[in-house]
């Protein structure tokens, strides 16, 4: 089965350090999403790409977060500098946007980030 691959699966870092999370979407999918999941906020949409172009990053703290798709096989989410409140599970999902707004998402296993 095709899958979305995320690395690292777990990351513990100290406040102020740079964190980079990577995602390999499913080949052929044209949309990529980054979500953050916490107990308090649930699943928050951070960034959304279609055909590698960033379409929406309104949910992302701009001063410290950045998301890119350098090519069709790689999406990155970077936090610099990291803060304890960034501790969460970060999910990448990809999908094939088709007609009538249908876009079934396949999620990666997530990257669990702990910032001390």
């Amino acid at each position: 089965d095709a899958r979305v691959t995320q690395t690292p699966r777990h990351k513990v870092t100290e406040m102020g350090q740079e964190v980079t999370m990577r995602c390999q979407p499913i080949l052929g999918h044209n949309t990529v999403f980054w979500y953050r999941q916490t107990m308090m906020q649930g699943l928050e949409l951070l960034a959304y790409f279609r055909n590698r172009a960033p379409l929406d990053d309104s949910g992302m703290p701009k001063d410290r977060f950045s998301a890119e798709m350098p090519d069709a096989t790689l999406a990155t989410l970077k936090i610099q500098p990291s803060e304890p409140r960034d501790s969460a599970v970060y999910f990448c999902a990809s999908g094939l946007a088709a007609g009538a707004g249908a876009n079934v998402l396949t999620f990666g296993a997530g990257s669990r980030l702990t910032v001390l």
Binding site: T31, D56, A97, V104, L105, F107
Partner: protein, 113 residues
């Protein structure tokens, strides 16, 4: 902000019983999806219902959609212990980017053996 809100937040039932979860959303939609998340895992797509459909079935799952009330329900019949998971609805507002999916707060389902 959340597009969808699931109700109840948590549900505990006995194996063999039916489980019903509800989702309310805020904007117009082209379709609504339900996903399941097992503990420590990513979300898995269960079923998609389009805005012109009122009901859809897939195995033990039955989804209804009422666009006039901006609500949907997910029914799991004859539940099993393996159905224990969190369930989320997801919608995309066509006016803000048709394929941008926002997830609800989720319902935590526990099925007791």
């Amino acid at each position: 902000s959340q597009q969808g809100e699931e109700d109840p937040q948590a549900l505990s039932i006995q194996e063999g019983e039916n489980a019903t979860m509800n989702c309310s959303y805020k904007t117009s939609i082209n379709n609504l999806q339900w996903y399941r998340q097992n503990s420590g895992r990513g979300l898995v797509h269960l079923i998609l219902i389009r805005s012109n459909e009122r009901e859809k079935h897939s195995g033990r799952l039955r989804v209804t959609l009422d666009t006039s009330k901006k609500s949907s329900s997910l029914l799991i019949t004859a539940s099993r212990a393996a159905d224990t998971a969190s369930y989320f609805c997801a919608t995309a507002d066509p006016t803000s980017g048709t394929y941008k999916y926002i997830f609800g707060t989720g319902t935590r389902l526990k099925v007791l053996a």
